[in-house]
Symmetry: C2
Subunit: 581 residues, 2 copies
C-alpha cells in the first residue's frame, strides 16, 4: 500500500470517511463523514469561523441550498456551468467528450462542441466500452435541477456555490452595515455539482462543503488597514512569472505587493489570512504553495486570482482555496438581470468642487413665443448636454414635437458645484475554500509512521485544535475499582466541553495505538497508583512520553496542554519510560 | 402591531431572518438567516452538540442531503410521504384537497382520496379562486426529486429527514462501536419537504434544519444508567390521560416513569435532556409542555412518543421536538429492502442453559436403504423441527425429491445446550429537533418591552450562550482619542473568540437601544474617564446598570460575566445611574 491507500484505508476503517449509501449499492461522488470525520470537519469549520467571522468581523449568513432560476440566469451558471458530453449510439454509455480527445488536443477546453465532435470523427474515436459510434457533442448542465411546489410551475436548482447567497442579499447586507463600505458576508455550507463521473474520493464530490467570503470594497481604494500585521510574513509565491521557470519564489507579502507580484494589499491580506488559516488546521507549509492564475485561465473580469495548492500523495498538486478579485462582475450581472440598483453612494472625505455648465434659457423671449409650452421648452433646453447647444439651430423635443430655437435665446454659464460623493458598484474580493479537500489534506499531511519495538506505529499528527478526540480516558484494566475513578474524570472533562473518548477494550498498548492512529493528542490512564497516590498518567501522542498528574489537576492540565499554554514535560512528573505494548 | 408582528418585523429589520431570493421575486417556504440569525442558529446548534455529542458521547456524522431511491423505498417516504391535492380545471390552481373540506369533516386525514373527492362533490365545493370545477384527488410526494449524473439513469431525492443517514450507516456504526449496544449517532443538517403552500414564516419551511439522534438500544433493557441524575427534575407532562381533561400535570421524571406516564426510563431520560436543552437555549418554561401522542396519532410501530410544544404568540401551541421509541421498525424495514442483516449478536451476562431436542437418525438402517443419498436424508431429518417428527410418516425433501420414512428410523433426544447470546434487532429512541422552530421560539420568548424615560424599549433577553453579539464596544464619541483604546479592546476580545460588535454611529443612548433590541448582553463604553483613569464602563442589558472596570481587566471580567461565574454587581464599581438617552 502506498500512503494514499493507507490514508484512505484508515479513513474508512476508523470512521473518518465512508462511501455513502453502501446499503443500497452506493453512488459515485457522495461520501459520509463518520464519527471521527464529522467532528474533524466541524472543527476545521470552527477555526475558519474564528479567523473570518470572529476576528475579521465578517457577517455569517445562511441562505437556502435550493435557489430559483433568476439567480443562476444572472450568475451565468444556467448557460455556462456545463460539460460537453457524447453518448455511444450502441451501448448508450455517456462520456466527457473533451476527455476522449485529451491525447490528441492539448487544451480541449478551448474547442467548441462542433470542433470536439469533428476531432472525434477525424480520429475515428469510438466508444471506449463497446467501440460503437459516438453521438454529436452536447452540453450537460452541472446543476442539480428540481421542481418547487406542485404542478411543475417553478424550477429550482441546488446551488453550485454558496457565493450567490451573498450577492443576492447585497441590498439587505448593505443596509445592515449602515450603507458604508467595506463589509463582508460569508457562508459555510453545502454546494452541489452534478459531475459526470466523479472519482478521487472527496476531491471531486457531487455534494461538497464550501466556506466562502464575499468582501465588498470601494474600488478606488484597494489598500488594507491591517496590511502591516501580515506584511512581514514569508510565503512561497508561484506567480505567473515563476510558473514560466517552474520554481516558486519565497518572499514577504510586503515585497509581493511592492513588486507587483500580487495586485494589491487587499488581495494580499486575504491570501495571507488564508495561509495562516491553512497552517492553523494542519496543512504542511512544505507541501503548500500559492499559484497565480495564468492570464489565459483567469476569468475575463478578474483583476487577479491566487489558488492555495497542496501536494497530495499520488494526486499531486491540488487546488484547495481560491482568492480572487472579481471586480464588479457579480453585482453588475445581478443588477442587470434583476433590474435592481446595486450601487452604493460613497461619501468623499470632503466634498469635491466641480465645474458645471448651466443652461439658461431666455424666459422673456420664450414666453410670448411658446405660450403654454414655454415652461416645457425651457426645461428641455436645460436638460440638453452643452455640446447640443452649439451650431446654428438648437433642436429640442417637447411632447413628441421637434422644436427649433435660435442659439441667441439660450445662454450658458459655468458654475462651481459641490459634490459630496458618487454612486459606485463595489468590487468583490472572494476567498473560496473547499472544506472537503482541506479536510483530506489535513489527513494526508498529518499521517506518518514510525517504529515502536520493531512494529510500525501509524499516527495522525493532528493539531489539538482539529483532533476529533482530544483526550482518551483509559482505565488500565477493565475492573470496577479503576472504572469508577476513570468515569469521574471522563464526566468532568465532558462537562468542560472537551471531546473525550472512553476505551476499556484490549491491552493498554493496543489502546494507545488505536488512539495514535486517529490522532488523539493525549491519553489519561487510571492505574493502581491512582488508587494509592491519587495520580494519573497523561501520555503524549507524538513523543509517547508520560507524566503523572494529581487527579484533581488533570482537567486543568489537559486544557492547558490542548491550548498550548503548557509544554508537555512541564505538565507533571515524567514517568520513567516503560515499553509500550 | 401584536407581538408576533413585532418579532417578525424586528427579525427582518435587524438581520435575523430574511425572506429568501427577494431580488428575484422570492419563493414561499425559503428563508435566509441574516448576520444575526445565522450566529444565533449556530450557537443553538453548538449547545445541542454540547448536550448530545460531547456530554452524551453520541457520534456526530454527516451524510449527504441527496439520497438514492432505495433508502426512501425502505423508509416508506416514496409511497407514504405525500399530500392529497386537487386542481381547478379552469384556472389550474392547485390545493390541498383535505384542507378544502376541513369545515365539513373533523379529521380529513382519516379519509382516502376517493372519500375526499366524494365529499368535495357532494358538498359542491368549487375552486376557491375562480369557482371552477375541481379535479379528482391525487397524491403529491413531498420529496424534492432530482437526477444524479447524466442520462436520467439514477433518481435522487433531497432527504426529508436526517434520520435515514444514521439508519443506513448502521453496519458501519455498529463496527465503530465494537459491536456492542447501546450506541447513538446524530446529525445536524438540512432536510427538505416540498410543501404545497408553506406559510407561517420559518415554522413551515421547504428547506429546514434538523438535529436528530438515533439511539440504538437493546430492547430487553430500557432502563438508563444515568436516570438518577434527572429523576428529581419536575416538568409539565401533558399525557394522553391529561389531554382528556385538558390540564397538564406537573411531576418529577421519577414519578412519571413509576406511574407509567412515560413508557420507560430510556425515553424519560431523553425527554429530560430535551427539556434541559430547551431551557439552556432560552425557551420559557412557562410556555413549554411535553405532550404525549394520542393512541390514534402515534405511528403503529411506536411504543411511546412525546412532543415538546411551545406557546407562540398568535400561532398557539407548536411542536418543536419529538422524542419517540420507534422500536425496531426502521432497521427491520432497511434489512428487508436491502437484504442486509441488521441484527446484533448480544452476549448474555452469563451463558444460558437451554433444553434442545436433537433428532438422531438411525444411520445403520438408512445406509443400506438410501445408499449414496443416505447422508443427505440424515441431514434433512436432523433439520426438521420436532413437530414434523410426529405422525405415521415423516416426509423429507432431498434434492427436490419427497421421501417418506417411518418414525422408527428416527429417535429424539433432549440435550442441554449452553447459549452465549442471541441475535436481536436493536430498538431506536429518536429525539428529533426542529432547529428553525426552536430559533423562532427563542426570539418569541426572549422578546419583551419596558419603558425608559417614557419611551418603549424593545429587548431580546437572550441567554448569553446564544446571543449573536456577546459584547458591543462603544467609544462614547467618534473621536480618535476614544477610538484608539476602544479598538484595542475590540481586538483583544476577538482574539479571545468573543462575538463582538463595534458601533460609533449615533448617541450612546441610541446605540444601547440598538444593542438591547438584538439581545447583546453587555456593552463596553470607552469615555473620557478611560483616558484619565484607565477604566471603562460595562452595561448590563437587562438592568441597564453600569459598573466601571479597569481596562486591563475588562476581557476577563466579560468572560466571567458571560459564563455566569460572576454576578453583574460584583464585576466592578457601580456607576451612579444617569439617564439613558
Amino acid at each position: 500500500m502506498d500512503k494514499n491507500e493507507k490514508v484512505n484505508e484508515l479513513a474508512r476503517r476508523r470512521g473518518f470517511l465512508w462511501p455513502a449509501f453502501e446499503l443500497y449499492g452506493g453512488a459515485a461522488g457522495f461520501f459520509d463523514y463518520g464519527p471521527l470525520g464529522a467532528p474533524l470537519k466541524r472543527r476545521i469549520e470552527d477555526i475558519w469561523r474564528q479567523f473570518f467571522v470572529i476576528q475579521e468581523g465578517f457577517a455569517e449568513i445562511e441562505a437556502p441550498t435550493i435557489g430559483v432560476e433568476g439567480i443562476y440566469q444572472a450568475s451565468g451558471h444556467l448557460s455556462g456551468f456545463s460539460d460537453p458530453l457524447t453518448s455511444c449510439k450502441e451501448c448508450k454509455e455517456i462520456y466527457r467528450a473533451d476527455h476522449l480527445i485529451k491525447h490528441i488536443v492539448e487544451v480541449p477546453d478551448a474547442l467548441t462542441n462542433e470542433e470536439i465532435y469533428r476531432t472525434i470523427q477525424e480520429n475515428e474515436i469510438g466508444c471506449p466500452e463497446c467501440g460503437g459510434e459516438l453521438s454529436t457533442v452536447y452540453e450537460f448542465n452541472l446543476m442539480f435541477k428540481t421542481m418547487i411546489g406542485p404542478g411543475n410551475k417553478m424550477t429550482g436548482y441546488l446551488r453550485p456555490e454558496t457565493a450567490q447567497g451573498m450577492f443576492i442579499n447585497f441590498p439587505r447586507l448593505l443596509r445592515h452595515f449602515r450603507d458604508s463600505l467595506p463589509f463582508a458576508a460569508v457562508q459555510i455550507g453545502k454546494s452541489y455539482r452534478n459531475e459526470i463521473s466523479p472519482r478521487q474520493g472527496v476531491i471531486r464530490l457531487r455534494e461538497f462543503t464550501q466556506a466562502e467570503a464575499e468582501i465588498f470594497i470601494d474600488p478606488r481604494d484597494k489598500t488594507h488597514p491591517r496590511f502591516a500585521e501580515i506584511k512581514e510574513i514569508k510565503m512561497k509565491f508561484y506567480s505567473q512569472a515563476a510558473q514560466e521557470t517552474g520554481t516558486e519564489e519565497e518572499m514577504t507579502f510586503g515585497e509581493a505587493v511592492e513588486r507587483g507580484v500580487v495586485a494589491h494589499q487587499m488581495l494580499a491580506y486575504y491570501v495571507a489570512r488564508t495561509y495562516q488559516f491553512l497552517l492553523a488546521v494542519g496543512v504542511s507549509p512544505d507541501k503548500m504553495r500559492f499559484r497565480q492564475h495564468k492570464a489565459d485561465e483567469m476569468a475575463h473580469y478578474a483583476a487577479d486570482c491566487w489558488d492555495a495548492e497542496v501536494f497530495l500523495d499520488r494526486l499531486g498538486w491540488i487546488e484547495i482555496v481560491g482568492v480572487a478579485d472579481r471586480t464588479d462582475f457579480d453585482l453588475k450581472a445581478h443588477a442587470a438581470t434583476s433590474k435592481v440598483n446595486l450601487s452604493v453612494f460613497v461619501h468623499y472625505d470632503r466634498p469635491k468642487k466641480r465645474q458645471k455648465i448651466v443652461v439658461k434659457p431666455d424666459f422673456k423671449a420664450l414666453g410670448p413665443r411658446f405660450k403654454g409650452k414655454a415652461k416645457a421648452v425651457a426645461e428641455a433646453l436645460k436638460a440638453l448636454p452643452p455640446e447640443k447647444l452649439q451650431g446654428d439651430k438648437i433642436t429640442v423635443l417637447v411632447d413628441g414635437e421637434s422644436i427649433e430655437i435660435e442659439p441667441s435665446l439660450v445662454s450658458c454659464e459655468t458654475v462651481e458645484e459641490e459634490v459630496r460623493g458618487e454612486e459606485i458598484i463595489p468590487h468583490v474580493i472572494e476567498p473560496s475554500f473547499g472544506i472537503d479537500r482541506i479536510l483530506y489534506t489535513v489527513l494526508d499531511h498529518s499521517y506518518y509512521e514510525d517504529a515502536v519495538d520493531g512494529e510500525t506505529r501509524a499516527v495522525l499528527r493532528f493539531k489539538p485544535a482539529v483532533a476529533p478526540i482530544e483526550v482518551a480516558v483509559l482505565p488500565l484494566m477493565d475492573r470496577e475499582e479503576l472504572i469508577v475513578p476513570a468515569k469521574k474524570i471522563l464526566e468532568e472533562l465532558r462537562i468542560r466541553g472537551l471531546r473525550v473518548d472512553w476505551d476499556t477494550s484490549g491491552s493498554i498498548g493496543r489502546r494507545y495505538r488505536r488512539n495514535d492512529e486517529v490522532g488523539t493528542p493525549y491519553e489519561v490512564t487510571v492505574d493502581y497508583e491512582t488508587l494509592e497516590l491519587g495520580t494519573v498518567t497523561i501520555r503524549d501522542r507524538d513523543s509517547m512520553q508520560q507524566v503523572r498528574v494529581a487527579i484533581e489537576e488533570v482537567a486543568d492540565t489537559l486544557q492547558s496542554l490542548l491550548s498550548g499554554k503548557v509544554k508537555f514535560l512541564e505538565a507533571g512528573t515524567l514517568v520513567v519510560p516503560a515499553k509500550e505494548k
